[in-house]
Amino acid sequence: MTFSRRSFLALLTAAAVTGMTASVSFADGVNVGDVIDKFTKIRSMSGEFVQFDYKGNQSEGTFAILRPGMARFDYRNKGGLNILADGKTVAVENRRLKTWDLYPLSRTPLNLLLGDRIDLTTGIIKYVVEKDGLIAVMLADQKTFGNSTIEIFFDKNTSELRQWTLLDEARRETTVVVHNLKVNTPLPKHVFRIPYKDIRERN
């Protein structure tokens, strides 16, 4: 059932180049364009997350998001990672090795999750599927992100963000499930400041 639904929707979204994606609707009238629109209109978000990586490791922590382009993930386990995005750069801190890695945000699919809008007409949406009350939207852009993709899952009824799955260049999968969400609670940009001075001294 899921497969046939998937292929049916894949067919539908094959028409994305002609700008049809925005009008993908499910039988009960839920429109994907509306779900995405509702999501990108949320200016700030915070809560807790559980992450499952390709090695089978599970970690958890707290996160905060401020559009456009700002996010922080604080992992609870000692010696784990911290991830910061300040609107331009993604900084990943490895607390065990005491190192930082920097990437341009625009080159990571995280940019799509944190952006002001997701353009439904550019063919960036590869497919939309529905399963277990969730709507999954697969986003990819070979030119910008190479083989990395992000699949974002929304609650079908409330349009609330539930999880996302990142596939990196090497096709390694990381899933982040969010809970205890607080939306549209203002946050100062200070929360997303990357400590460049410390990074220069440390690396």
Partner: protein
């Protein structure tokens, strides 16, 4: 001027202190006793208002029995030296105390942060202004040369709707450190236990 107070037992204070102390390795809260109700009940955000900048934030300070990093950073931002544009990590015990105080008085308006971290320049300026206002005399209300504000260990605050002496008496009962009672605000710091200012 009406407020309802939540009763917090000494035993429950100790319990949370132990929990936070054990998990928040970077900052054991053993010297501050947090109430059971602060963490066991549905969490409420800590609401802060900065009368100088007009900012108001609702802060998620805890995640389970641990500190929420982004919440701490929002607090640091509200405690910043806005004159010199300096933000530092302040003593978390202050934030936990503000949270406990907010829950105790159970008021809907946010806690007003009059002054948090101060750079040397700002503290000198405020001390100079205070002395000048008093005709060149140093008074009990003049910012100290060695103020705990310089070390990000002090906060001057008030709670709209709750008289300063009432707040100050509660701060005193928490035994956090320094308590200064002023006409319009309470000074609370995590230095040595001491008290000055108006009688309460």
């Amino acid at each position: 001027m009406k407020h309802e107070e939540i009763d917090l037992s000494k035993r429950s204070f100790m319990k949370i202190a132990a929990t936070l102390g054990a998990t928040a390795a970077l900052c054991p809260l053993s010297s501050l006793m947090l109430p059971d109700s602060a963490l066991a009940e549905p969490m409420v955000p800590l609401r802060l208002f900065n009368p100088h900048t007009g900012e108001t934030y609702s802060v998620e300070l805890f995640s389970g029995s641990q500190w929420n990093k982004s919440g701490l950073l929002v607090c640091d931002w509200m405690m910043r030296d806005w004159r010199q544009k300096q933000v530092v990590n302040c003593d978390r015990k202050l934030y936990a105390a503000l949270y406990v105080i907010q829950r105790k008085f159970n008021v809907s308006s946010p806690i007003a942060i009059n002054s948090g971290f101060r750079s040397n320049a700002t503290n000198r300026m405020l001390r100079g202004n205070s002395i000048a206002r008093n005709g060149g005399r140093v008074t009990a209300e003049s910012p100290a040369v060695n103020s705990q504000h310089l070390y990000a260990k002090a906060v001057d605050f008030s709670i709209p709707g709750v008289p300063v002496p009432v707040v100050s008496r509660y701060v005193k009962s928490l035994n956090i450190g320094g308590l200064g009672v002023y006409s319009t605000f309470t000074h609370m710091d995590t230095g040595r236990i001491r008290q000055w200012g108006r009688p309460i």
